[in-house]
Symmetry: D2
Subunit: 346 residues, 4 copies
């Protein structure tokens, strides 16, 4: 049994990590910390864990972490992880960081998008970007993984097959993203107050969302050149799920069925990406609670545009599920171990 | 008092028409018909009307319609309206048709998008397109108005100021639309079954929605040339509201504040279009139950794109409210008579 | 035109008051205050008011209130109203207080249920309890009205006809109440955080809700004796609406249709209480946004119990709409003036 | 590996059965039938099963069922199961029937509540009532189990500890139940049409729900006498979850903590019933997607009433999860095998 710890178990991402750790089968939860709820048991923080996992959350201690675990998931907020993660890495632990702090490789880019100086710039670029469908080999050899954000996961999986083959005319790319509210975390705010959110729909951070940097960095790597595109996120009156709609013109003449083929080929061996049958479209509910990403495409002959659609559960493939997938790879386990859950529908 | 009738009072659009007719003040409901519920009173069909409007629905009779009304709202489904509307027009009644049957001016286009032969092609082009913010003068003089669809209303209001000035590079235009479920009407279906819809989000009729024809016809008229763009509608897990996000490159170099100015100027005299203050974004809840359309714009300097956002209540500005607005204009009443309702929030 | 003020326009109740004031027709909003948003305009606080009401909120000043208004609605939170309301009353203004501070007539009861010493006990019992269907005459003559709470309104309207005739065996009465989230107000909290509330249902303050005192006081007055019953509120994953289900045994043998008759007779002249046709049941959506209370009953022959059901919109008949109804009565206007809105459905 | 079949895989219950069968580990799905979708693969019926379970649904054949399975779950609608189940039982298969057809032991009661003559009355009383927390031993020895309904499961688990000890004054019992929409099944109807259900709440089948018979039969058995009580179900604007609120007077003087103790003792060995810590209350979200039943109690000293609350996921502990629990018991497996899923929250 691999001994794993969760640093920051209070939030939604932490809670989801616990869910997958509990049912994994080959790992053991040996250390759980919470800053705001130290001393409380998991069911006191997450009442649905009663009778399931009843660990008491500790205050973080590096010594204890090193002593008790082989691998830690760090589920701290952006800006807080960067203080702690380097210590864990230095101490020789395997680390999967779910924050944004080590996804970007450039400190200036971090400052520009997160409006905050990075406090451990020497660690930027040290983590492997934990998107297993693209960096599987690197992740297998990694001891420090930066787990992708929820929007970047949907966007990269949705575009990678075309990007890698140079088929995206980047000038034409628009990404219209829609997310459930759990992506914004567990801290109450006016924006996420039930009466303000229910029966309401709106865009936010229009063309300014901080995840844009991460997406452009990674798509640029796949494309072999700098890329920039317009990304607009919207808030859905629901809890879980991201659907991204991509609009682009291909660089070459291509038929819809050829595009489907490219996607099927690219994800041929992947357990968690489902390229749908032609004519079907992704629905967030079909991936609810699961680690799947559903993808479809549609050719618009009237405008010469490709429309690509990708759906994930933001808390699973967009966070905790993907982190477990990375852990499996880093630990030599079966990639899908503990992640073969059926989506919950209805 | 103007005597008005509602042909087809069973559906959601019919129900909303009744709401606005009830509180209008200068019109009187003198005739209501329903095909499926003839002989039933309004509260038997729409229980919230108990104690408000208790008319009994008749089966349609042309004679009665002519005898009892000065103006009729026709709220029949697409494909059924075209049988009836010509009779009403011929009989000399003022007619506002809320179906799609007389919005297109070309029978071939109708066949192509609605997959049905038009049975009264000689009436195509005879109706004034009832978007008051653009065709106010024509509507004032009209006796036959084709009331715009919900998506077209949001799209046309969102693009008209730029389209009219030739500022849209049509090649670059993408419209990503999201609608609540009431737009799909009152007939139950698997797609709109509560457990299938709630906590779910998906696209539908990707790049193939029949309203595309109407939008391109009207935008083409404003632009002075044929235009085509990609339109993708999505289904929101909520009841009312449409938000459209438009992505386009302008034809000339232009600053964000100039765009705001163009919108403010264009809608300067309009009571129902609210160009928001810079930095604010439309939310569907801010127009809930009202005849408002809220619009904002955002310049993305990284990609040279303009993002425009427009929100309406699909049943009000996208259907019944707009129909009343047209009726006011056709009848020489104040344009906003009976439509000055505060949006319902929360 | 009557000049009215709203003290505390920031919350949901304040916002609803503004909605009804705007469309009333015979009153004028001359004074609006907000503690937390003084200096801001209404659209900055409630964005849906843009282009509708654009007053700037003042800090409260007694002098200004007296100078500018004939009647004020006080929409301050419980515990804050009691500081201010006596000043307004003393100054000779007509006052409708929407807080709980002057509904109870006994300072000990206030302390017991609100866990707070009342700071103006000499005013307890001075306000008329503003439930127009029961105290119409008193309200007409009143200059100080305590507007009932949302649960008490539904409970009192649901039970008054039976209580008044001595038909309730109080020992057997159980009230199971369910409310939308807007009743809890506009301040964000974990409980009302969208991801915690959506797709969730729970009871709260089981048999301990502070409104119980108010209901028992008023039902006791109708019954002519002290009464006590079990009241359990629940939180619905929706925004507006209260449905109460009452279970009781009648004191005498009575048939279901006789119960219906008692209700119809009791509310015969009332514009805002709709006793449904037999076999129909209330739905919150049928009163959404309106001042209606819908009531039905059902006899359970197997157990000798009556089940009564009553639905209101908590922000309207349960707060702002009822306050306007009281204002109409206090001001000699038509009771339904400005309140004849059709419920919003769907 | 035990070979299991699912008769009627189209509905929500069938879909949930598949979910638990998939992740069970010691059983194998060898036969799946669907009347309405024979010839279709599971992902064509339930798109979230793509890449998970891809069996093609057969038309039912008794021969095949016998040939291919050791145990079958029958998930046919009430009234259809009674034609088929006797054949399966006769053929020597272990049968778990999820319909209501064999839960009642009396044909007259069936006729009275289901308004339909039972076509296999000789089988009434032959099935073990599959509530493992009460009939564990009988289920272990059974080859034919009638799986309880969703409301009965919540009601029986909520009352069994008190009923068994004779502590319920049945004259005083009221059960106010609230259910998500998935309990009504997958067939679209006006009632469950999204725009009719969302932001709406109502009671239905007031004091007339057909499950009442089943609850009274089973509670009567526990109480050792005929019992009758008032049961009122309500429809929640959400997908999954039942919360029942019970109101009763105890037959003896008893303190709240003694009630808690009775519940804790009664369910001491049960894996799926969580008696909450005092002061906590059940929330449907805490059992979402899981086989848990959460229970709490509250003493109302003012009225001498006990309030009990119980929450389940109607599709899991109220249907498919419980069926698997029964299968485990009937097959000599660990009772919780394949059912140890963490509730999905948020």
């Amino acid at each position: 049994m691999i001994r794993v710890g969760v640093i920051g178990a209070t939030g939604y991402t932490g809670s989801e990590l616990l869910r997958f750790i509990f049912s994994h089968g080959q790992i053991e939860l040996t250390y759980v910390t919470s800053y705001s709820f130290a001393g409380k048991s998991l069911p006191e923080i997450h009442p649905h864990y009663r009778g399931v996992l009843e660990h008491v959350c500790a205050s973080f201690s590096l010594e204890e972490a090193v002593d008790k675990t082989d691998l830690v998931f760090c589920a701290l907020p952006h800006g807080e992880a960067m203080d702690l993660v380097p210590l864990l890495v230095e101490a020789g632990l395997k680390v999967i960081d779910l924050s944004a702090d080590f996804r970007l490789t450039n400190a200036d880019t971090y400052l520009k998008w997160y409006k905050k100086e990075h406090c451990a710039p020497q660690y930027l670029g040290k983590a492997v970007y934990g998107l297993p469908e693209i960096y599987k080999q690197e992740i297998k050899n990694a001891s420090f993984v930066a787990n992708p954000g929820c929007y970047p996961t949907a966007v990269l999986l949705g575009l990678a097959p075309l990007a890698e083959q140079g088929l995206v005319d980047w000038e034409t790319l628009v990404v219209d993203a829609k997310s459930g509210t759990s992506g914004a975390g567990r801290v109450p705010s006016t924006t996420l107050h039930f009466p303000e959110c229910a029966e309401n729909f709106r865009a936010y951070k229009v063309a300014e969302h901080q995840h844009t940097a991460e997406m452009e960095q990674e798509l640029g790597r796949l494309a072999g050149k700098r890329v920039a595109f317009t990304f607009v996120p919207h808030l859905l009156p629901m809890v879980r799920g991201i659907l991204c709609t991509f609009y682009l013109r291909p660089t070459v003449k291509i038929k819809e069925n050829e595009v489907w083929d490219i996607y099927r080929e690219f994800y041929r061996k992947e357990k968690f990406v489902r390229v749908l049958p032609a004519a079907l479209m992704p629905e967030t509910r079909n991936v609810y609670g699961s680690n799947f990403c559903d993808i479809a495409c549609k050719w618009d002959p009237r405008t010469g545009r490709l429309v690509i659609l990708a759906a994930i559960d933001n808390l699973v493939k967009g966070a905790a599920g993907q982190a477990l997938q990375n852990m499996n790879l880093m630990s030599g386990l079966k990639e899908e171990q503990g992640l073969q859950l059926v989506p919950l529908r209805p």
